[in-house]
């Protein structure tokens, strides 16, 4: 059966940990493992990392730093697959960014590379003024 869960929260950096640990617990629903975030389970770790990247990008790239806009995260929970999508009202961006050129010690640009590597599928589309980045991974 397919269940969905929606999380709406202000786009502030202090919520990064809240989001990534919630995602970790949702992922643990599928693996049935213990809830502890640091257990070696590759599936939950992948989501904890990927969602932390995506949420941080959404917060840092918001149009005006004045007052934080809301970010909505939708979890689609299926027996063998978890899909997480993040909606924000930021300006459009592309997810096919080139990998950072490591030789000259870049300080950013790693986020999307990490998401692409730990998730099975990552798609981005733009719908009535909001970015939707969707990532999924199979157990």
């Amino acid at each position: 059966m397919k269940r969905t869960m929606i999380l709406t929260l202000p786009g502030e950096i202090i919520f990064t940990r809240v989001v990534s640990q919630t995602t970790c617990s949702v992922a643990a629903l599928l693996t049935g493992k213990s809830l502890s975030a640091s257990d070696g389970n590759e599936f939950t770790n992948a989501f904890e990392l990927a969602i932390s990247e995506a949420f941080t990008n959404s917060v840092l790239h918001s149009a005006c730093q004045c007052e934080p806009q809301t970010i909505t995260i939708t979890f689609t929970i299926e027996p063998r697959q978890l899909t997480v999508s993040i909606h924000d009202l930021n300006p459009p961006f592309s997810i096919d960014t080139p990998d950072p050129d490591i030789e000259n010690y870049p300080e950013n640009g790693y986020g999307l590379l990490i998401i692409r590597k730990v998730m099975d599928k990552v798609t981005y589309n733009r719908e009535n003024g909001s970015n939707i980045i969707t990532m999924s991974k199979q157990l």
Binding site: I13, I14, T16, R17, S20, A37, S38, G40, N45, E48, L49, S52, E53, T56, V59, L60, D99, P100, I102, Y105, P106, E107, N108, Y110, G111, L113, I114, K117, V118
Partner: protein, 116 residues
């Protein structure tokens, strides 16, 4: 995340404890030893249980400001989760990584004498 200074000297040792992400990354800028371009620092990551790209970017950023980029920051006692983030981003090519802090300090000390 908490940064604790373990020891000073030619090769300083500091330890990270907790999670290093966008919210805790700015703390690296406040640490004197990390930001002194001439100071070799061994960062003990034993108690660091989560790092994401912002955390990694902060460490790379600090290493970039060191006079001797490749040996200014040495990393030790990484757990598998942290190592995988370094591996995915190829950042492990930028740092000398040890599984024992004392070994890292000795290596740093020998580097100091040769490159001074």
């Amino acid at each position: 995340m908490i940064i604790t200074e373990i020891s000073k000297g030619d090769v300083a040792i500091i330890a990270f404890n907790g999670t290093l992400d966008a919210s805790s990354a700015p703390e690296l800028r406040k640490n004197r030893a990390l930001n002194d371009p001439l100071q070799t620092v061994v960062v003990d990551l034993q108690k660091l249980d989560f790092i994401d790209s912002s955390g990694l970017g902060a460490i790379v950023g600090v290493a970039r400001l060191k006079d001797d980029r490749r040996f200014g920051i040495l990393l030790s006692c990484m757990n598998d989760r942290v190592r995988k983030v370094f591996e995915i981003t190829n950042a492990q090519k930028l740092f000398h990584i040890f599984d024992d802090t004392k070994a890292a300090v000795e290596y740093g000390a020998t580097r100091q004498s040769t490159c001074k």
